[in-house]
Symmetry: C2
Subunit: 138 residues, 2 copies
């Protein structure tokens, strides 16, 4: 477990620091997505707020995590699959937000459908966010 954390950081040419190790571990342990506030609470006073912001930013840039567009416009992050790399995200899966417990899931096996756009529009990325009740809250 810890090994893969360090491996991941090395693979992305990031220096191994406490905050990066800890935050990446949090993502691996989390079954859903995490918001900045979640990380801040779960890590206590261990890291500065600014460090968390910068770490998340770095992870997004390196393709380790991706942001999730949510219906309530709160920023959440989740681990990317292996195909993602620096500057090249391939997060073509559907996201699900539970209205009850608030958990956000990456439905890795549900691919986003093709959307036909009107003349003149060119799609670069398609985000699908489904909300409702998850299996725990039904």
């Amino acid at each position: 477990m810890l090994y893969s954390v360090i491996e991941t950081l090395k693979k992305n040419q990031l220096s191994i620091t406490d905050s990066r190790k800890k935050i990446l571990e949090l993502f691996i342990r989390a079954n859903g997505a995490l918001a900045h506030a979640d990380i801040e609470h779960q890590s206590g006073t261990e890291f500065d707020r600014v460090t968390i912001y910068r770490t998340l930013q770095t992870f997004v840039e390196k393709g380790i995590i991706h942001t999730i567009p949510t219906a309530d416009n709160s920023v959440r992050y989740a681990l990317c699959k292996d195909e993602c790399s620096e500057g090249h995200h391939h997060d073509d899966h559907v996201h699900f937000m539970c209205d009850d417990c608030g958990t956000t899931y990456c439905l890795d096996h549900v691919t986003v459908p093709q959307v036909t756009l009107p003349q003149g529009f060119h799609a670069m990325q398609t985000d699908v966010v489904v909300s409702g009740k998850c299996m725990k809250c039904t």
Copy 2:
């Protein structure tokens, strides 16, 4: 034009005030979606920030406008179609965000596709946000 603004407010049992008239007009004139900041800038110092927040909130509740989930997690609002009413939004269309000019469009004629979810998940709402280049920026 002004007539329809007042009509809309009356239809939703809202008292006719300067801020509501002005903000609703802004939405009718805008070809895309508006963020809180857009409204704040376009209306100058005419209204208090708080008034704008509350007006937007009221409009959303009444089904006059709807929020748009964006990839960058900024809150944007756009006019609803006529079918929306208090507590009953029917905004089942795709949204498009231009990476160049930042304009957000409601593609009213592109309906959101059906997404098949894993066992245990129950969809209540599906949001699709496509980003790329719009017809003005190609």
